[in-house]
Symmetry: C2
Subunit: 506 residues, 2 copies
């Protein structure tokens, strides 16, 4: 029994309200579209964000596969002049909990129609797009130190004692043993006073830059709603963006820290290859795999480095260069933001011959793929069905690589690495962290992946540290400035960025 | 920079909007009250529920200690006739994530005022009022069986391997070791195909019936918003109410399953004392402590019993009695619902002499307290400060019990138990599960606790099984019908309730 409260309802309003409710429960898209005003300023908001215009709302409805089953408990009616009325409904969901639906209705030639709606449903136990397991905390600190009171979102590739490693794939998780010791990086963070907040989602086997896990969905990108999170350290990045955790621990093989940092407006570091032990981390391509992390502030990015990175003699950043040919690899809005950053740090402009870039990227791709198949092929061979289409296609291509191709790629990687390390020298190179802002959720990201890999493969090939500094495009979307230095100069980069951002905030 | 979109704003509207925003950020309660229309039908809703009337909204604001810091990104204005306007704001929270605020403004003698508002903020990583740790799942099943595909919210008194036992008290949690084996009940459920969804909040050391944990707040009561959850198996109950988990595993010493079941409209069972091993469960008062569980359906309540309870020869329920003197111990609305249930099962009315009830309850209280202090006094003695005021007062009183008092209480308990077991005999007794519906969050619950203990202590003293069947008062609030039987008749009770509820649903 629904209680109808408030003002006496104008003629036809409650009929329209109930017609909408029935259409919602039946997922009758035509009727739902009819009952929402066909205007560019019709609004519909929920926890995922505000949709503006009938067309956006129509597309959202078409894609969601129906609303949750519910009962309407109370309806509050408020007459707002001759043409408008407010209807606030308290709902009870079949799966449990209560929600609220606020609607502004307008009477027009087509009868009563909704021109604005705001919907709340009960929150889930946890945000399963971001977290596989989360706690308050999941693992307590084992020591005290510079990270006291901070918590870490651990990418689901790192061993956390008491939990299996899930690698973003439910079938793998189903077979994975419960770990008995923490990965080196996890153990070290716990010893420095940090707690493990939880285990964060990853793209399957970290073999993607999108974050759009086929099983768990794309973690939200709160700074750019409606756009992908970036991956593969996607859950760690979204957890930090949303304030669920202070530190997002992840890995970066071909951009898996730098890309989500750029897409979500976070600071991030991919460390020098080999600088941080990968013990207890599921490999993707060991010659490229590195440990990295994401934060909302440059000072904390550096503080985590103080804990995880080997101590080396500091070498202050003296010369910064910007390479127009690298800027040109990004979309104009991103290139502009990166160029502005370079100007602000008085970077020297330097021209690079990138004639071999395409072959470098291809060598990176093939060497990565050959290693990925070596690492996971024996297990995946009979379980390719368990993968989402993108990652599956990538592993299937990896399976086809011949040993001759793999050897040629390894040689190409070694040579490209030497060239890149020589080009960077003892300077810091400013370049785009990703080729574009975060693509829209519906977009095909394969072209974006190729364009971004052209940029991210450089640090990968050189084994170099790369820090992402968040900036915004003119349109206001997050984008990433990348700073790359010679091997082992992680702390130099972190200190430079920390000092610079602190000066900017003063 | 805030973008203002939509219709041109009427004079004064945006000034009022920004005045409200400034007042919200400053927690200027007077100004906020002024800008909300002083009417009995003013509305304000969020994920916690819908508040109706200026007074309710004022009280809510007075109690919350300010809104989260935020920036307004976009404002959408819609003119609704001469007197009304809609303002939808997209906000960005300082801690991360975006929210939405929908407001209907009305122009009156006092200028523009809000007459309806709906607010969304980003969901937390997990609902920390309900869960200490939660996962997808936290612990995988170890076998297959009748509980395949179901998940369990485990009260934070049970050992879960890989996690410490928190007992609802952060200081205890800080000292607790990581468990290496599961409690018997957890292990048995996992073996039957269930997964552990997570570790659910409890009142501190289970020494309360309220659910209002001083450190983590009161878990929501979705069936009775604004009212307490009931405890001490509070998190398990709310998790089941909200559909976070199918099964809520808990304990019942003096009502800790029956009371939250009654308050939240769930099925629940407190088992015969000793029927289910308490190995791996933190004790409160071992002579009364029992394992129990909560579900949304009677059939699942029974199915869990098939897994956890010892197999005994079934003895069908033949005679059901209802005792007017017990009904009279409840509030009239609850007594009426319980009486109606008794009539529907053709219960025989029987009069009991309850002259000793007060002394029974007191013997229960003292015997429980003496055991609670024996169990936790050595640790708590120097840590009473770590407890919330209610539980602290109870432990402090427990510390004062002399050994003579404890012995006298134990003797009283034994004698009362014999009497109660004799009174129940081989019948089933219908009585209120709790003396009232769930008290309002702000209410002082000490009188309610005493009244409910008068009812719940009976099964406790007798070591008897008690099932709660959810019903509603005439006002529509959840209340619990209790069914108590002789020792060991848990399966008889579960089967009776399952069959009866299934008949009702046909």
């Amino acid at each position: 029994m629904t209680a109808v409260l408030g003002d006496p309802a104008p003629a036809g309003l409650l009929d329209a309200f109930w017609a909408y409710e029935r259409a919602l429960m039946a997922n009758d898209l035509e009727q739902l579209d009819r009952l929402f005003a066909d205007r560019p300023d019709t609004l519909r908001g929920d926890a995922a964000g505000l949709l503006v215009g009938h067309e956006q709302i129509r597309r959202f409805r078409g894609g969601r596969g129906g609303a949750r089953l519910r009962t309407v408990l109370d309806v509050h009616v408020r007459v707002l002049g001759a043409e408008h009325a407010l209807v606030v409904a308290v709902t009870e969901l079949e799966r449990g909990g209560r929600g609220q639906q606020t609607q502004v209705w307008q009477r027009g030639a087509d009868g009563w129609q909704v021109t604005a709606a705001h919907v709340t449903v009960p929150a889930a136990a946890h945000d399963a797009r971001i977290w596989r397991v989360v706690g308050d905390p999941l693992v307590r600190p084992t020591g005290a130190g510079p990270l006291d009171g901070l918590d870490v979102a651990v990418k689901d590739l790192f061993a956390v004692a008491g939990q299996p490693v899930g690698a973003g794939n439910p079938t793998w998780l189903g077979h994975a043993p419960v770990e008995t010791t923490h990965a080196w990086a996890v153990r070290t963070l716990l010893g420095a006073g940090a707690a493990v907040r939880g285990i964060a989602r990853t793209d399957e086997f970290a073999y993607s830059l999108a974050g759009a896990n086929a099983h768990h969905g794309s973690p939200p990108n709160p700074r750019a709603p409606g756009r992908i999170s970036g991956g593969s350290s996607s859950g760690s990045a979204s957890a930090v963006s949303l304030g669920h955790a202070a530190i997002g621990l992840g890995t970066d093989t071909g951009g898996s820290i730098r890309v989500p940092a750029a897409y979500q407006g976070l600071f991030g570091i991919r460390t020098t290859h080999g600088a941080i032990p990968t013990a207890g981390v599921l490999p993707l391509a060991p010659t490229f795999d590195t440990v990295g992390w994401l934060t909302r502030e440059a000072s904390l990015l550096a503080r985590v480095g103080d804990v995880l990175l080997p101590e080396v003699a500091p070498r202050p950043v003296r010369e910064i260069v910007v390479v127009p040919e690298l800027l040109a690899l990004a979309e104009p809005d991103v290139a502009e933001a990166v160029g502005a950053f370079a100007a602000s740090v008085d970077a020297t402009t330097e021209s690079w011959d990138l004639a071999h870039l395409e072959s470098w990227r291809e060598a990176f791709r093939v060497h990565q793929a050959a290693q990925a198949w070596a690492a996971h092929g024996p297990w995946l061979r009979t379980r390719l069905d368990s993968l989402g289409p993108d990652v599956r296609a990538r592993f299937e291509a990896a399976a086809e690589i011949t040993s001759a191709q793999a050897v040629a790629a390894a040689i190409g990687v070694a040579s490209a690495g030497r060239t890149i390390r020589r080009l960077v020298g003892d300077r810091v190179v400013v370049l785009p962290s990703a080729s574009s802002v975060a693509p829209l959720l519906a977009e095909d990201v394969s072209a974006v992946r190729d364009a971004t890999m052209r940029l991210t493969c450089l640090a990968g090939l050189g084994g170099l540290p790369a820090v992402t500094v968040p900036r915004a495009t003119e349109e206001g979307l997050p984008c990433g400035v990348g700073l790359v230095a010679g091997p082992g100069r992680d702390r130099d980069l972190l200190g430079f960025v920390r000092d610079r951002e602190e000066r900017l905030r003063r």
